[in-house]
Subunit: 217 residues, 3 copies
């Protein structure tokens, strides 16, 4: 057990929590991608492709845009392995997975969104991106994977249409950046931003919030 763990977490002694949390988010998003694949009647390979794309697409797009190539998920086998594990779990245990209550899935998804958004904003700042665009990168990291998945299925991506989702990522990133601006410690700023993103998303689902539209007559 210890040796197996050591293969996954060799030199990340300090950041081991961060990495573990990141992999959990990857797993959750991969599960969602795989469930979409099954509803679209794709075969095993299509399912694995959608798992990978949903879980890691957002981070890949962000890394390509901020110039961090090869992207983390291409450089580090653990991300891909986690995404495929999530997809495989759904493939083999679909009858159990589909009984997971929707409320739990929405909650895990909101947690994954918060995590990915904060990680995205933080990485963009590290690469010297302007704060205005770092908030954008937070949204790209959070919703990019789902967008790639929807484009592959020839759907209009949810992000263009749906209730408060990418907006929650943006709001969380703005809170994080404001806190960093007044010299709050990084770990606290990220936690606060993440809580804002998560809460906003959950409240929006609960109260059926949606963004304003222009009406065409």
């Amino acid at each position: 057990m210890r040796k197996w763990l050591a293969a996954w977490f060799p030199k990340y002694n300090q950041d081991v929590v961060l990495l573990a949390v990141d992999l959990v988010g990857t797993f959750v998003f991969a599960v969602e991608g795989a469930m979409t694949a099954i509803r679209a009647e794709l075969d095993l390979l299509g399912l694995l492709v959608l798992s990978f794309a949903t879980a890691l697409g957002g981070g890949v797009i962000r890394d390509v845009l901020i110039g961090a190539v090869p992207p983390n998920s291409i450089r580090d086998w653990r991300y891909g392995a986690t995404a495929f594990a999530g997809g495989g779990a759904v493939f083999f245990f679909y009858q159990y997975v589909q009984r997971v209550p929707p409320g739990l899935i929405v909650t895990l998804d909101a947690a994954g969104l918060a995590l990915f958004a904060m990680a995205g904003a933080g990485k963009a700042l590290e690469y010297g991106i302007h704060p205005l665009l770092a908030t954008l990168m937070a949204a790209v990291t959070g919703v990019g994977g789902g967008t790639v998945r929807d484009v592959l299925l020839a759907h209009v991506p949810l992000v263009l249409n749906s209730d408060v989702y990418a907006s929650a990522a943006l709001a969380g990133a703005i809170v994080m950046l404001l806190l960093l601006h007044i010299k709050i410690r990084r770990s606290i700023a990220m936690s606060c931003g993440g809580v804002v993103c998560f809460t906003l998303r959950m409240v929006a689902v609960w109260l059926h919030w949606s963004l304003p539209k222009v009406m065409v007559h």
Copy 2:
């Protein structure tokens, strides 16, 4: 006023005209993206996403392809701010914007296409891309944003189907490259190429030109 301008144009004293023109093109394309979003009944966030994608998608794809990462529009907040300003203007003043005569929109769009195509070819050359592929990069810069927008809306992109649009960008870029080849000054070569692109596009709209097709029986 002067201080506010200085935030936008701090160190570009020489290239201030070029930058201003580039931002105007970005604004025009963002307005078009936002109008498409309203016709597709997207909410405010979807509208801003389409504004950004339409205005800056072509340049982002070009920069990623020629290795100029992070792309300009990710590195420099003024492009994103301009795109969102264009989108926001449409959101708040849609009733006025929809009264703009179509002829004016087509003209501004052709001007934006000419500008983006020339800028794209010029930047590709700066990065040491072969002239044959620099003309391709001109077309990618001009039509990439609209293509991303159409893919997000799950439409077949206009560029694959429409009358003379990307072809005008290609023709303008070829003229520019030929003039550069015979040692004409860069600013003149770009202006001539831009005029060719703009004129070709306007004449094509006016005379309903289209490209040949293979008929399938």
Copy 3:
């Protein structure tokens, strides 16, 4: 003739066979892209765009992901020229091309897939990508172009749905990597992997193999 050849193969005296084979694969995929374009009733420009995207899209995505920018097909005019030659050949000689027996097209396509997959895995390894992800890059190189084509036409990409196609690329890449692992020479490992990929694809077409699915009740 010799001078014309020298423009295409100037400094690749050793790798001349590899390059020639690569260009043949590009030509075959471009022809397939162009035929799809004609069936979708696109005009000449749309046909050339689909030829380029189908033939070179997979390699471009791989190169962007592994950090080999600008991608080969943007840096080297011969790839683009070959893709456009393939598209142009279909445009001008469609009545002859459509009489090519489907079996020959499937065979050439499987050969192109095998070649692109091996080239993709090899290049990923050269750029220091982990073997697990190098096999993914093999699949991306093989099926990426067709996926871009299908997304542009607003179809669900074949790779998500079809019989054994990307799987053949993965299997071939795994064989190649295992052989490299036990210190077999590179050229032999690539040949064996390619043969596995090609054979698997052909047998799958012949016997109507497909991958398992989860049934939704």
